[in-house]
């Protein structure tokens, strides 16, 4: 038989729905296992007023338990008087049986006391009277409340509960609500109970109402999109089906019905993202676009379950939208009047982080940083000037009314204001791209200047936070510094810029105020961790990552070296060279600090001479790691012969030191670019 639990609530916040349904599913799987109840399948679904669990073919009885537990030796069963010993009594009690039920069984080690445990399965009908309430209690929400005298806590008041096993009601009470077989329809209508005969008929019973309820989330989502597309088809356009808004809308309706309306043409002068942000986030409406993605003067609003009186409702929605967009126009026009220069001058009143000055100070720092990096990268003078100009306005829009109202539009609005002021296109784009990438894998700035300014902003944020002692640890990363660092590294790699970690940290920390909590020393490793994540994602083995680790090598070269090394290590010859390299490194670890220079006259053995010659014969290679590695193959035999025949640690100190000097020379060519000694043996 199937089982059904429906927790009927007042309006749950849309964002609570999915997490609650996931928990309900996980907790059910767990609690059914604990109770040894078998079933074929289970699923959870629901609306903002109904959290539903449906279990298919739930066994009528839980499984029997039968097991034997070994206890103390048989001689401890009874004492000389024939009474149970304390040990026997204790063993029986521990296993929940009487001492009389203990049995003695023969084993390899003689007779022992056993407890034979047999637990009969329990009827599911009975188990569910505790399992269902437990499940309701087990749900956690981001925020809970109390609404009645039992003090039960839940996200919003529970007003009805359906609890069925087959057609039978599983009876219990929670938060003053008795379980039943009654569901309720859309909340705007008279609440007449809908009797649910059995779990199988639940979904259809709700769907077959005069005002249908689509209790399945996927079905509701399809209905929403169908309904929106029905509206836009009539208009001859498409809707901007924003994924977040779709999911939110699906979760605050029981039966979404779309309705199209128009907006005054005068609002079309608003920047596109500002207009769509007002529609989507403030009033939950879908923008309408043409095939090219250009905004059209229409909107799509969504009603819950009702499609009468459309004209009046449409007028209502339109008025609300008009009021909000009028506000947006007001903010936007005020900002345009103010201009970027005046916005920027307000930055001295906005603090960055404690001890690291104001946003005006930060602006000055990133302008300087942008300038330094542009020089390093040999930007031409026009690009360098544009980059500096963009950096000097990068934070200006933080002082605008629009960004104050809609924080997510930072950067974008800066770009818009710069366009309106007729700034160079490169500057406008750089401002728009300043906060990219928004996540670990999302789009990077596309332009060179945008990349540079964005990089400077991130480096300063990182260096300033570390200098103020704010270093992320574990899950604690309130300023999202990992994301910032990842963005910085990705920008450098994408542009193939020759910048090393040490250089970045040096430049970024130059103009920071002094701070007692300074943790800047941790920043290079923190940046390296991001690069390491990227290398790991490209499936570079861990030992190769260690081998190429270097804070003075440009990040793009480190990445390239890792790829080359991984490729070249397919050659067994190079693997053998790497093995020898490890021996060289190990021996030199214990060598004295001040070795005398290599004395060729002291090289007596054939293998010593050969190794020295092989090193001398290596072609001089610069900036070609691949060729360098290939050439190292020539050292394989000489190195192996050397280690096979030559004892470095001889008693004659002069000879010993000379051999160490030879190995030091070998090391400089082996470890010229990467640390081959870090490599593990490949099998």
């Amino acid at each position: 038989m199937n089982a059904l639990l429906q927790i009927g609530t007042e309006h749950l916040p849309a964002r609570f729905l999915r997490p609650a349904l996931e928990q309900l599913k996980e907790n059910t799987i767990k609690i059914l296992a604990e109770n040894r109840l078998n079933y074929e399948a289970l699923e959870t679904y629901g609306t903002y007023k109904k959290l539903v669990l449906e279990i298919q073919n739930l066994a009528a009885v839980s499984e029997d338990i039968s097991k034997e537990i070994k206890g103390p030796p048989a001689k401890l069963l009874k004492d000389a008087d024939g009474k149970f010993t304390p040990q026997a009594l204790g063993f029986a009690a521990k296993n929940g049986i009487k001492a009389e039920q203990l049995v003695v069984k023969e084993t390899d080690k003689g007779p022992f006391i056993y407890a034979d445990i047999k637990i009969k399965g329990i009827k599911t009908e009975k188990l569910l009277t505790t399992i269902f309430p437990e499940l309701i209690k087990s749900l956690n929400f981001a925020k809970n409340m109390v609404w009645e005298d039992s003090g039960f806590r839940f996200a919003r008041p529970i007003r009805s509960i359906i609890a069925l096993y087959g057609s039978k009601i599983i009876k219990f009470e929670i938060a003053g609500v008795k379980s039943s077989n009654k569901a309720y329809g859309l909340s705007s209508f008279k609440q007449t109970p809908i009797i649910i005969k059995n779990p199988e008929s639940y979904k259809d019973a709700l769907k077959n109402q005069i005002h249908p309820i689509l209790v399945d989330i996927e079905e509701r989502k399809k209905a929403l999109i169908r309904s929106i597309e029905g509206c836009t088809k009539l208009l001859g356009y498409q809707a901007d089906l924003d994924e977040d808004l779709i999911n939110e809308t699906v979760n605050f309706t029981e039966h979404p019905i779309a309705l199209a309306g128009d907006m005054a043409l005068s609002f079309m002068k608003l920047p596109k993202k500002l207009l769509t942000t007002v529609l989507k986030t403030q009033i939950k409406m879908f923008p309408v676009v043409n095939k090219k993605g250009e905004l059209q003067p229409h909107f799509i609003a969504v009603r819950d379950g009702v499609s009468v009186n459309q004209e009046e409702v449409k007028t209502g929605f339109r008025n609300v939208m008009t009021a909000r967009l009028t506000d947006a126009v007001f903010f936007f026009e005020n900002d345009l009047k103010l201009g970027l220069n005046n916005m920027r001058s307000k930055l001295k009143n906005i603090n960055f982080i404690d001890g690291m000055g104001t946003m005006e100070d930060k602006t000055k720092r990133i302008t300087d940083l942008t300038n330094s990096i542009a020089k390093l990268l040999n930007f031409n003078s026009v690009d360098a000037e544009n980059a500096k100009l963009a950096a000097s306005y990068a934070y200006a829009d933080l002082a605008s009314s629009v960004v104050y109202e809609f924080t997510d539009l930072q950067g974008y609005m800066g770009g818009v204001y710069a366009q309106k002021e007729g700034r160079a296109q490169d500057v406008c784009t750089a401002l728009e791209e300043f906060y990219l990438p928004l996540s670990a894998s999302s789009d990077l700035p596309k332009t060179k200047i945008g990349s540079l300014v964005s990089l400077a902003g991130k480096l300063d944020t990182l260096a300033a936070n570390f200098k103020a002692g704010q270093v992320p640890s574990g899950s604690q990363d309130p300023f999202a510094l990992r994301r910032q660092a990842m963005g910085a590294v990705r920008i450098i790699l994408a542009n193939n810029w020759p910048l090393s970690i040490n250089k970045l940290v040096e430049l970024a920390s130059r103009n920071l105020p002094e701070n007692a909590n300074n943790q800047l020393a941790q920043l290079p490793e923190f940046l390296w961790q991001r690069l390491q994540n990227i290398l790991e994602d490209s499936l570079i083995p861990e030992d190769i990552i260690s081998a190429v680790k270097n804070f003075d090598t440009s990040l793009n070269i480190v990445l390239l070296n890792a790829e080359i090394l991984a490729e070249q290590l397919k050659s067994e010859t190079l693997q053998a060279v790497a093995e020898s390299a490890k021996r060289v490194a190990n021996i030199l670890k214990q060598s004295p600090q001040n070795l005398p220079a290599l004395n060729l006259a002291l090289l007596k053995e054939q293998e010593e001479v050969a190794l020295n010659k092989a090193v001398d014969d290596l072609p001089k290679i610069k900036d070609d790691f691949k060729k360098e590695l290939k050439n190292l193959s020539a050292l394989k035999q000489p190195l192996e012969d050397f280690f096979a025949k030559i004892m470095v640690n001889t008693k004659e100190a002069e000879i010993k030191n000379n051999r160490l000097a030879l190995l030091t020379k070998v090391k400089t060519v082996l470890f010229n670019t990467v640390d081959l000694g870090k490599l593990k043996k490949r099998g």
């Binding site: 007042e10 309006h11 916040p13 849309a14 964002r15 925020k143 409340m145 109390v146 609404w147 009645e148 005298d149 003090g151 919003r156 008041p157 007003r159 003053g176 909340s187 705007s188 209508f189 609440q191 605050f252 009033i283 609003a301 009603r303 819950d304 009702v306 009468v308 009186n309 009046e312 409702v313 007028t315 209502g316 929605f317 008025n319 609300v320 939208m321 009021a323």
Partner: protein, 286 residues
């Protein structure tokens, strides 16, 4: 429906649901929640159901009667029910019918909105309710009042009367709302908006206001000590209003603000504590 008829119909509707129709409390307040029936009413187990119109003063929101959508003084209609009835959402939706807004043909949306008042040391869980996209009501299950966890739970329904009237009468501005068949809302309030804006933004005597804050603070504390929590609470309400006026006057710094809010919260807690104590003593004596 005329403004005055919306008020009348809400009163008739909630009267039928067993509410006492109370008259507005005669002191300035920033929100209906400050009304003693709401504040003290939520604190003890004694059941309560009242409704009333409450004028609210928000000095900083005034616009000299020139901005048709901003007012320094406006009207809320409050319903306070304790314990909260199980069919409260339905009761609310029916109240909309009573003022001519049928939920069966409009879009009624309950948007998560948890309320809190740092000055009263109060918080609750609930929604703002949208009618065809317009926010018309705040619906809150109080959880904490004056720092005390509440039991039983009080539900507070606050109707924005001007919003309801604008929607019902299809008016674009507050001033165009018909108060009755012949007089507009604008005619009733514009002059008062103009004069009070001048007072709140330009004329209010900052030194006096600061003195009133101190005097009422002191008086509230001393009255609480004497067990007179009702007049004490009047003083706390006055402190809150003078604070709001000082803020409109631009005389409050960030640290000032935090301090005065903490001061009012403390006064509210003193009054609440005294009331709870006396109530418990009375119950014990029964």
């Amino acid at each position: 429906m005329n403004f005055q008829d919306i008020i009348h119909n809400l009163q008739v509707y909630w009267k039928k649901q067993g509410c006492i129709v109370v008259q507005p409390y005669d002191l300035e307040k920033g929100a209906g929640t400050f009304n003693p029936f709401t504040f003290f009413g939520s604190l003890t187990p004694k059941p309560t159901s009242v409704c009333y119109v409450e004028p609210c003063r928000r000095p900083a929101d005034g616009r000299y009667g020139e901005n048709p959508n901003r007012l320094g003084k406006y009207y809320q209609f409050q319903v306070i029910l304790k314990p909260s009835p199980a069919n409260i959402q339905q009761l609310y939706l029916n109240s909309l019918k009573a003022i001519g807004l049928d939920p069966e043909i409009h879009d009624v949306r309950w948007i998560e909105d948890d309320w809190q008042s740092p000055t009263l040391g109060a918080s609750g869980v609930g929604w703002e309710i949208w009618l065809d996209g317009m926010e018309i009501t705040q619906f809150t299950y109080f959880q904490i009042m004056a720092g005390y966890n509440l039991k039983p739970i009080t539900v507070e329904i606050t109707y924005g009367l001007e919003r309801l009237a604008m929607y019902s009468q299809k008016k674009d501005t507050i001033f165009d709302i018909m108060w009755n068949d012949t007089t507009t809302y604008g005619e009733m309030v514009k002059e008062s908006e103009r004069q009070f804006s001048h007072y709140n933004f330009e004329e209010a005597n900052v030194a006096n206001l600061r003195r009133y804050v101190e005097e009422n603070d002191e008086e509230c504390r001393s009255l609480c000590k004497k067990g007179l929590y009702l007049p004490a609470y009047d003083c706390a309400m006055r402190v809150s209003h003078y604070f709001n006026t000082l803020e409109a006057r631009g005389a409050i710094s960030v640290s000032d603000r935090t301090n005065i809010i903490a001061k009012i919260r403390h006064l509210a807690k003193l009054c609440a504590g005294e009331y709870i104590k006396q109530h418990e003593e009375k119950e014990a004596a029964k």
